[in-house]
Symmetry: C2
Subunit: 184 residues, 2 copies
Amino acid sequence: MSIINGVNVDQLVSTVEAIKANPSLANFKFRTKTDWVEGGYSITTIQSFYGAGQEDTSRTESFTVHGDEPNVLLGTNKGPNAVEAVLSALASCLSVGFAYNAAAQGINLDALSFQLEGDIDLRGFLGLSDQVSPGYSNIRVTCRIDSDAPKDKIDALVNHVKRTSPVLDIIQRSVPVAVVVEAA
Amino acid sequence: MSIINGVNVDQLVSTVEAIKANPSLANFKFRTKTDWVEGGYSITTIQSFYGAGQEDTSRTESFTVHGDEPNVLLGTNKGPNAVEAVLSALASCLSVGFAYNAAAQGINLDALSFQLEGDIDLRGFLGLSDQVSPGYSNIRVTCRIDSDAPKDKIDALVNHVKRTSPVLDIIQRSVPVAVVVEAA
């Protein structure tokens, strides 16, 4: 069994081969359930998903995510806020992308870290200006890669991850969101 | 002091008035730091941000977010994955938007919950097809609102939140992301 960067490369290769033979195995549906508590505070649970042709059964318990706002935004700091959670998701996604693709290419990573910062003008959220987008105007990612691989291999890895990162794509592309409201 | 939905409406009104008088108070910078651990597992810490004209000092400790992949995606289920975290962030954002804007309009919410599902074809992430976007192709949000407010007020609230939600905007719009890589 070949393990690089904590990734089972044999399993990675067999997964890719299985999807090449049956592309429908690549269709996944991820899900979350969120209950508002009060003010800016909400609790999300995450457990089930569909993928590789079946409902997943590997998670015996759900994950719980707490979201809140800081005091200056009328919250009580019970968790990071939603736009901070977006940055966290982006860095988590890039982390997986670097670790897995490096493993596939035989590149050992000694360490990998990310610092992210996003600029937002809250006049959009507050409905004070139609000229201001509610979300981030810009996001900056600084990525520090510690590896003894040659620079051209690292550069190619970076370009591959930038092309294929799901969360980077979700942020950089316009993704359709359908919102349905049910009255209780 | 007027509290609706757990939101201090007096503070909300005074915040909006302060920003109308000095729009630069609405400029916020949010930040995250992420360390890859191994395989699909990473740990993000979230604490500092800039906003309302200064560095925030309200958080005495950082928040910690664990990201990982499920077994079928070569991970060890130490946390939700990055695209699940995006759905969680979206629901958290909509939750804040409903609670705050309802409070501002004098609408009492008895309960509020969200179920989200996103479709993704992992051939994009795996680099198996240039025709497949790496991120979600579609996201569906089902929102359940329990309130005795009249339907037309709830409809107007929904439309306002859909126009002004930061994370909904980040997902639906194309947001520029600059990635800089530092070799260690």
